[in-house]
Point group: D3
Chain length 147, copies 6
């Protein structure tokens, strides 16, 4: 059940966000039969962050639109990533703060054992703060789930 | 109050953990008058994770041992980082899970405006899972505070 | 202080929801001098779930409208039941999910000792999921309070 | 993606706990190609509740012992069920309370669409209260996950 | 249902803790037919804080020892007060912090309407911080429940 | 690092709220080179409570408007105080409750050691309850942060 060192899905999902060349990095990952996408979202509404990631994942064929188990796996990975971003209450505008985030979704098997099947990682990186330009600091989140 | 793009403290704190050459990266950061350290901790007790990071930060002179405001700033950054790692309840063994983490602590001014003074970032990266070898997935956390 | 095995208020509150004949079940409970009601609510707003239950409980004479201590007891039972339904954050639409629930409110003494007085149980059963038909799974919650 | 009305896995998981004849109920469910087990656990340690359920699920062949994705699915279902039981903090003895629970684990496909594959439900029912005999009320929890 | 301005139970419970003459203040409150007590507890274990308050309330006859509904009301008031003290996770030593607290428990009717019956207030005031002398700041909490 | 008994910032911040003569009390505190203000806010929106306190603190010169580190310190003190008020979920109208609060913000050094620098305390006192007149009880919160 050991993690494959070269295929640590969470590490790759974060490096995609911090990279200067996400497109090239993604190509390499696709050569390992992984699927993925990156995107951006800024909002005071947590549900818009969730929606932006779900939409991107469906549009890019990372999850199947009409299979609930895949949406369910992705949803929980998103909410887990939001815990890292919000650190206590999964709330933004309702407690007067806003986020500007890039996100990545990756899908593939990070384990040596093939039986472990596919997993999904959602990473978030950006800023969180008051709805005033510059009144913000960085934030990060990672959610991982079997799919 | 804008963040200095080259001195994003959270980004650097995470890249330190994901780097193959943390020592070299740290040297570069020290040239920007930043202080920092990296370390490792594995435990089923969240308080041991907190203690390992606090001890490392004090030993490496990143915070002053006898000034409570500095400990206070670091403590809250650690707990915020643990939110990303634990995603819901800041608990490990009490709900039957364990972590194996690397951590970094960075201190410096990430803003263009010098008045913003020093900030501290705590980053965590590793695995979380059942206390059974291999039954784990990756996890990450980042806490940032003014100091 | 022991629970009366035949008058376990939480068990009855849930069986009412899962029953094919809630009206008959309620009649039996009323013969034990219990009061109760059942209802339905679907919403993306947690506050509408709270309001629907409070309104039903007042309309059916289960709590006194003009005595705050009774509203207070009911409110906390509802919020506790919502913890079971939401499992982590008492939030629905703000994290892009919706519920379709049946609810029951029961009032009576579940203890052998008469001094224990009256208690109130709120049970919830239904589905939770994305605001897309069929993208949902079941959920349940139970809150119990002295009244 | 609609739920199959006769195969609502959460409803069955709870009815198993509230039934006077769980063994017979389980037989019927097994005729639908479902797997399941029931058990009991009483503790002031949340991690012992988790361990008791995991052990029962493995011993009864409901999840595969050596495939982490199955343990991962079960673990999150257990923690979600514990949210219903604990209603706020997933803590027992650390805030001076104890539980006496029966639990059920069910595995099968509750959806009409076969593509939805297998899901797992963990239900908990019993009492929670002070570590003093009789100072307790009922509690319930349900966690559902794709597996 | 309006609060009686002279009998605001929460305000009195806090003033007792901040007073230089709690004994005299208590006497005045007792003249309004209220019951109450004050005490001290220092610990890294949240359950010891709960136990200290419960024991004091029982010893001083503020709640009846053998009636669970009274223990239940007090327990929830204590946990609510601990939320104010801990501000996020009701945990002390498990996240490496300790408290030194004074507490008060008051019982009486704070409403003009006699039908509102008796309520209980638990107030906490003291310090929270690292298990190092002086590395701490003040903290307060208040829980109120019908009884 | 010991707290200066006469300058316990949390105690003073609460006494300001419970005092019949807040203006006189504030004058005394200003003689110790402390800054502070008091105000009122009633709302079903937590973000309006946050905004009211931030605006008052800026208008009264307690924090510098254009220095993010000061806003950051204040924001976290407010959210911590709201934990005491809300006791579980930092939510008001979204779970059908409202608050009527007075607040105080104090800034100064509560420690004997001058190196500890300035700290900020936010205290909240008032009522919380259903959006129905009189259906409410008292609530309190205190947040303290280094600034």
């Amino acid at each position: 059940m050991t993690l494959n060192k070269d295929l640590r899905i969470g590490r790759h999902a974060i490096l995609l966000l911090l990279s200067d060349q996400p497109a090239e990095q993604m190509k390499k990952l696709e050569q390992s039969n992984w699927k993925g996408c990156v995107g951006k979202v800024g909002s005071m509404d947590a549900h818009k962050v969730v929606a932006a990631i779900e939409t991107a994942a469906k549009k890019n064929g990372i999850i199947q639109t009409d299979v609930y188990r895949e949406s369910h796996a992705l949803y929980h990975a998103i909410i887990e990533a939001l815990h890292g971003v919000t650190r206590g209450q999964v709330q933004l505008g309702s407690i007067l703060r806003t986020v500007g985030l890039t996100f990545a979704v990756l899908r593939g098997n990070p384990y040596i054992n093939e039986q472990e099947g596919e997993w999904i990682a959602v990473s978030l990186y950006g800023t969180i703060g008051a709805p005033v330009k510059g009144s913000e600091h960085e934030t990060i989140g990672l959610g991982i789930n079997h799919i």
